[in-house]
Symmetry: C2
Subunit: 199 residues, 2 copies
DNA sequence: TTTTATTGATTGAACGTTCAATAAAAATAT
DNA sequence: ATATTTTTATTGAACGTTCAATCAATAAAA
């Protein structure tokens, strides 16, 4: 059924199938045959479009990071120069979106997280994303807290977000998004309450 | 050099070598040959003492969980009926001990964490440990907070601990234990400040 | 007819496991 | 003490399996 312009279609299908395969069997057992079968194509097509299995895995991680960045950016775009609290809440909401989207994404994310410790390519992607989260948080906290307190608050909130999400990815029943948001908001409130005001 | 009573020695050597191999190359590339070479023995000995590679991996995770439990228990044993805050601080300190011990342990822990999503045996071990942490935290918070608030504080602190440790395991420079403790203590203080007192 | 997309059998490398062979220590007999 | 036997610990080559990658063959669309 070869039609012209299949590349973007196949790429999307294979990336989606990769997440499903990792969700189903784990990264170690997500073989090219398993992924290809899920996408309804043959194994050889992976090398054709991604240069090999590693290329597909990297593309999949890029997709997840892209979606995450977009989930945050979309929510913040509507805010303009709103209060810091609104921006910080948007960052929290955006970060818990990735779990809301699906269980496969969460498990794939954690699998890549572990894998990135020993694969320089993935590590770079992960590091860039991490720094972006910290930088965004820090910048907003700076609008109402002194420098050192802002840094501390940003690190604490980043850890809280990652921790909640990590525990959610591992729990058989998945992440309780409403509760996770409540705990993150709670932490946020306490950090913002440190300084009475700063007109 | 076969001497009698080698079993406990070899088991310890191989478990240690497993952590080092995972630290060095990741779980995926921690082959039996690599592990055996690190321990200074041949590959076959792994099947002899652990029944196979899976048995060795399970034993390694058990060792890590055991050490963690002991690190917490040791610190709490000296406290007796001390204030809840002292017990909670001991739990925090004990949990950050596992990173203090070495980088290999942290990376192995994260590798198992990801792997446990698809290996029932590891999942059970991980789940038991998780519930113990939550249960311990919840019990201490109950001594000075109402039920719902205690649960929330326990879940928040557990997420904070895991998040700090997770980010530490991934950071190239490792976990800054002093700073992690500061952030966890900080969260603890805020939770305990919710209720003025409860004589 | 030419181009584009896809297949799937094949290849070679790497893995975990097995097991007959070996060697050192311990036990026993001399 | 010394020699012999038994036990225990260990090796490493061989085996079967599994995987990712390759590429000649194929088929549909342009």
């Amino acid at each position: 059924m070869p039609k012209v312009g299949m590349e973007p279609i196949r790429r999307r299908q294979l990336i989606q199938a990769t997440m499903e395969a990792i969700d189903e069997a784990g990264l170690a057992d997500a073989t090219v045959i398993r992924i290809a079968r899920r996408a309804g194509v043959s194994a050889g097509i992976i090398s054709h479009y991604f240069g090999g299995k590693d290329g597909l895995l990297e593309a999949t991680m890029r997709q997840i990071l892209h979606d995450l960045g977009e989930a945050v950016a979309t929510r913040r775009a509507a805010l303009g120069r709103a209060e810091p609290r609104a921006h910080l809440e948007a960052i929290i909401d955006g970060n818990f979106d990735r779990s809301q989207v699906s269980g496969p994404v969460a498990k794939t994310w954690l699998a890549f997280w572990a894998s990135s410790m020993h694969k320089p390519t993935l590590q770079r992607l992960q590091s860039v994303n991490d720094r972006r989260l910290y930088s965004n948080l820090c910048h907003q906290f700076r609008r109402c807290l002194p420098r050192d307190e802002a840094r501390r608050a940003a690190q604490g909130l980043a850890a809280m977000i990652d921790g909640l999400w990590l525990r959610g990815a591992l729990a058989p029943e998945g992440l309780d998004v409403a509760q996770a948001r409540r705990l993150a908001y709670d932490y946020l409130d306490q950090q913002l309450a440190r300084e009475p005001a700063l007109a």
